[in-house]
């Protein structure tokens, strides 16, 4: 692949932006280019990454899901219930959390499919339903009395750095890698993935091809729910507390990351590589801003600008490619 081919790719530009941001932050702050910071970043943004993979699939299928944060919150309370009240182990918590995600995600899918309603409106409604009920049941209580073994199952490979601080690859990071790889395989190497892309590209065409639209819809939203369950586990492992308002409201960050990665709401477009780069860009940007000591009030403004600029640029590039397609070569 030559530079000319690369320059046509959206991901290439993202990569250049990330590299230049890294160089900028390395010069501006001492703490940025250290292995501790890198591993911390990876752990802290694993939740964002896991959710983004699910959102990518939903966006590729031509839908949108805003209710996953509420699903993840419900899963977190269930994890806490299992581990604290029933003294279950991590695996049962994981399985139950994912099952809740799959069930609630399928609920979204059924409504979207049978009521023929826009996914945005349905998931705004279910966000309020799920979140309203979980607050009603738990009264918004904070839970932080996790057993000691739970607090210590964080690092998998531990090693000590030169100055004596211990750090390691954490379980959330492994979950993140797992999620990215299954999403990659799903999109690029399975028939189902191809179906989802085709469905997002043109729903009517996909239906007439004989694809079972119900199955695809259920799979897409259940997958999002499943990843909300995985994300819930990783989030609980990182923060060691369960609180009702920790995740709800972070939908935008996830959508921003995926859209930044080149996915479009029109469906049928988006790659896992782009999403990974989008998440990386947001993570590095946040981290750099914090290290440079910029007020957190700015974060939301910058997030919004990222969303607007990235949707505008991707709309421009897709329009260019359509115009480019109509060019007639006289020679």
């Amino acid at each position: 692949m030559t530079i000319k081919d690369l320059s046509k790719k959206y991901e290439f530009y993202l990569f250049i932006i990330i590299i230049s941001l890294c160089i900028l932050f390395t010069f501006c702050t001492k703490e940025f280019l250290t292995i501790e910071n890198f591993l911390d970043l990876l752990t802290n943004y694993s939740f964002l990454g896991i959710m983004s993979a699910g959102m990518l699939i939903v966006l590729i299928s031509g839908g949108i899901d805003l209710s996953f944060t509420a699903i993840a919150t419900i899963s977190e309370y269930m994890i806490a219930l299992i581990i604290i009240n029933y003294s279950g182990n991590l695996l049962t918590a994981f399985v139950v959390s994912c099952c809740i995600g799959i069930i609630l995600g399928s609920f979204n899918a059924f409504i979207i499919y049978y009521f023929k309603a826009p996914s945005l409106i349905v998931t705004i409604a279910t966000l309020n339903i799920f979140y309203g009920f979980i607050i009603l049941v738990t009264k918004g209580r904070w839970i932080y009395n996790f057993p000691i073994w739970f607090r210590e199952t964080k690092n998998i490979f531990e090693f000590t750095s030169g100055n004596g601080t211990e750090y390691g690859i954490t379980l959330p990071v492994l979950l993140l890698l797992f999620v990215f790889s299954i999403t990659y395989i799903l999109l690029n190497h399975t028939f189902l993935g191809r179906k989802i892309i085709a469905f997002g590209g043109n729903q009517e065409a996909a239906r007439r091809m004989g694809f079972n639209i119900l199955h695809i819809t259920i799979f897409v939203y259940a997958f999002m729910g499943f990843l909300a369950g995985v994300g819930a586990i990783s989030h609980v492992l990182i923060v060691q507390t369960v609180q009702a308002n920790a995740i709800v409201g972070r939908e935008l960050e996830v959508i921003a990351a995926v859209v930044l990665g080149g996915a479009s709401l029109a469906g049928g477009k988006g790659t896992i590589l782009g999403t990974i780069l989008g998440v990386t860009l947001i993570a590095i940007m946040w981290n750099g801003l914090v290290l440079m000591g910029i007020s957190s009030y700015w974060h939301q403004v910058i997030l919004g600008l990222i969303i607007i600029i990235s949707v505008i640029s991707s709309a421009y590039s897709s329009r260019k490619s359509i115009l480019g397609g109509t060019k007639i070569d006289i020679k």
């Binding site: 309603a117 309020n128 939301q300 403004v301």
Partner: protein
């Protein structure tokens, strides 16, 4: 159907809460709450009619309110005699800001071709961020009596805000039903390509749609800040779901092209009666929120069944 629900609710609350929901006091408080929500719902509705959505209505309203409030509190001091002109300027400045935000939304959607969900979502985030950045989460308060009159005063016993709302509902329903702009807006909602091919200036119409939506947010914000006697970044955060719910309940097709202001107004009455009834019953606000979600899904389901039956009849 909506009228039936309204009558049903009336009977239900008369039995369970006799003399409470339908008391003069409750009606008055409803008459003060209804206008700001209703104007925001109209702002949401006209974009939904064009097949889009405007998620930035609340943020736009708060930005506009904060601008108005800043001008009011900065310019009016104890010794400046007549505060009337300053109030007018402040309100117009807020409306202009809201109108410009709407134009930017419309431009991004119509000319650049970004989906309405994403561009208004981005706009919402930017505006919310700016609001918090500017106010630092504090409240801006202290308005002259002219401003307070808008949200709290009455003319012949009718709340002034309610009169504003009725005028706006009237203007918008004329605009939608009797003008080329309104009809093009409906047509774009049902089929954008067809309207483009039949010679409608889709881009111009869409920009106007979002600009009007923005302007309505500005008007709602004036009533809102006057009602609360303050402006803040977080007012009306729970209104977004309710405005979508009211629009869909009032018969607006979530994919665009169908819906009337009259349906929306009845839907808003239903929601207002239901919410004050639930409030008087002592139901938790979180439950109410969940209930709104359930009703929204239920209504969408009913619409779909009705739509299928209509198609069967046609065939």
């Amino acid at each position: 159907m909506l009228i039936v629900i309204l009558i049903f609710l009336t009977i239900l609350f008369s039995i369970f809460l006799p003399g409470k929901v339908f008391s003069v006091g409750n009606f008055q408080s409803m008459a003060y709450q209804l206008p700001e929500l209703s104007i925001l719902a109209i702002a949401m509705m006209i974009t939904m009619l064009s097949g889009g959505i405007n998620l930035s209505i609340i943020a736009t309203a708060n930005t506009s309110g904060i601008i108005t409030a800043t001008i009011l509190t900065r310019l009016i001091t104890a010794d400046s005699g007549n505060s009337f002109y300053i109030s007018v300027i402040a309100i117009l400045a807020g409306w202009t800001a809201a109108f410009l935000i709407g134009i930017v939304n419309g431009f991004i959607i119509a000319h650049i071709g970004v989906s309405p969900i994403l561009s208004t979502l981005g706009m919402m985030t930017v505006l919310q961020g700016l609001n918090i950045l500017y106010t630092k989460g504090y409240v801006i308060s202290g308005f002259p009596p002219e401003i307070l009159f808008i949200g709290n005063g009455t003319i012949l016993g009718i709340p002034f805000a309610l009169i504003i709302f009725l005028i706006i509902a009237f203007i918008i329903s004329i605009l939608l039903d009797r003008t080329p702009f309104g009809l093009s807006n409906y047509l774009i909602g049902s089929n954008e390509t067809a309207s483009y091919l039949s010679g409608i200036n889709v881009k111009k119409t869409l920009i106007w749609t979002y600009a009007i939506s923005g302007l309505l947010c500005g008007v709602a914000s004036t009533i809102m800040i006057s009602h609360f006697n303050s402006a803040r970044a977080g007012y009306g955060a729970s209104y977004l779901l309710v405005t979508i719910l009211a629009a869909v309940l009032g018969g607006v097709n979530p994919y665009g092209g169908l819906g009337k202001v009259s349906g929306l107004v009845i839907a808003l009455f239903i929601l207002q009666i239901a919410s004050s009834g639930l409030n008087l019953l002592g139901v938790s606000t979180h439950f109410t929120k969940a209930l709104w979600g359930i009703i929204l899904i239920f209504v969408i389901g009913l619409r779909n069944i009705k739509f299928k039956n209509n198609i069967k009849k046609l065939i």
